[in-house]
């Protein structure tokens, strides 16, 4: 696991350690099964085309789950995620698979964030962050906010 992050090491405008993710058709199949979202919009070409999105698109909730990973990886085992929100603003299309294990070359998504506030309340050490999923064009398709309690050296 990542090293433990301490509240004292973080300032307003500090970067949340970026987390890369590659959406693949395989990942979308896994997500459909793991979440129970069986909307054909995410696996059937003809259906997706009729819905006006071209090819099957990445589930919004999958990108939301990536943002949870972004935060939990950064705050470490002893940090606690308190709140997370996001909006689904833009669509993303997964990479095809080259083999059972490897995706075709293509886009990589980056989950990113920035500290917007830090404070102590009821003896707990809080940080607030602006977070987002960024596509290869640099567009924030899934912006949001998160609040976490960090470990303190104090």
């Amino acid at each position: 696991m990542s090293q433990q992050l301490y509240w004292e090491d973080v300032d307003v405008s500090s970067e949340v350690t970026p987390l890369p993710r590659i959406a693949t058709t395989q990942m979308l199949v896994k997500w459909a099964g793991a979440s129970g979202d069986f909307n054909p919009l995410h696996y059937e070409d003809t259906f997706a085309s009729k819905q006006g999105v071209g090819k099957p698109i990445v589930h919004g909730a999958l990108k939301r789950a990536w943002l949870v990973s972004l935060m939990t990886n950064w705050i470490g085992d002893n940090g606690t995620l308190k709140k997370l929100s996001c909006q689904y603003r833009g669509m993303d299309w997964p990479r095809m698979m080259k083999s059972l294990y490897e995706p075709e070359d293509g886009d990589t998504w980056w989950c990113k964030g920035k500290v917007t506030n830090k404070y102590v309340k009821d003896g707990e050490h809080y940080v607030e962050c602006e977070i987002w999923v960024e596509n290869a064009k640099g567009e924030k398709t899934t912006p949001g906010n998160a609040t976490a309690v960090l470990l303190s050296r104090g």
């Binding site: 696991m1 997500w31 129970g36 919004g60 939990t72 990886n73 997370l84 689904y88």
Partner: protein
């Protein structure tokens, strides 16, 4: 003024749904999101952590994460279905997921049994580029086997 059929939906609740937080479902979920955090699958790591056992990634309350009409053991599309049907009849058949807001209160552990209660907490109208749309806000509260609220989700659906 929003139509009466819509106003009547505000405050409506769905019958409680039971969620069993199974280890296998946690692993499958962590695998699907490519999250290697050992708190989700390594018994020993989890036992030595402050949680003392395997936990679920925040936001996961067991399978499925969303009940839909596509599942034969759910009698209908549920509350969400009722709201969407009403909107479609009023001429707003296109649905967009507007986003979510989580509030995490307690960790969810493997073997927890949660009860999820979903309510329509608000429906309001908005205009964008001259077109009307309705935003419906659903809140689901997950209570664990000890009677404590573990987390809450607010989800906004946009009907156009």
């Amino acid at each position: 003024m929003i139509p009466e059929q819509v106003a009547n939906l505000i405050g409506k609740a769905q019958a409680p749904v039971i969620y069993e937080v199974e280890r296998g479902a946690i692993k499958k979920y962590a695998d699907a999101i490519a999250d290697r955090n050992p708190l989700y699958w390594d018994e020993e790591h989890a036992r030595n952590s402050r949680y003392g056992s395997i936990i679920a990634p925040p936001g996961f309350a067991g399978w499925p994460t969303q009940w839909t009409g596509a599942m034969p053991f759910l009698p209908s599309g549920g509350l969400r279905g009722t709201v969407l049907e009403t909107m479609a009849k009023l001429g707003y058949p296109r649905v967009l997921d507007g986003g979510v807001e989580f509030e995490f209160i307690l960790p969810v552990r493997a073997d927890d049994i949660l009860v999820g209660v979903t309510k329509v907490i608000d429906i309001y109208e908005r205009e964008s580029k001259g077109a009307k749309m309705f935003l419906s806000v659903f809140e689901t509260t997950f209570t664990n086997q000890n009677g404590a609220v573990a987390f809450k989700i607010q989800q906004t659906l946009i009907c156009r």
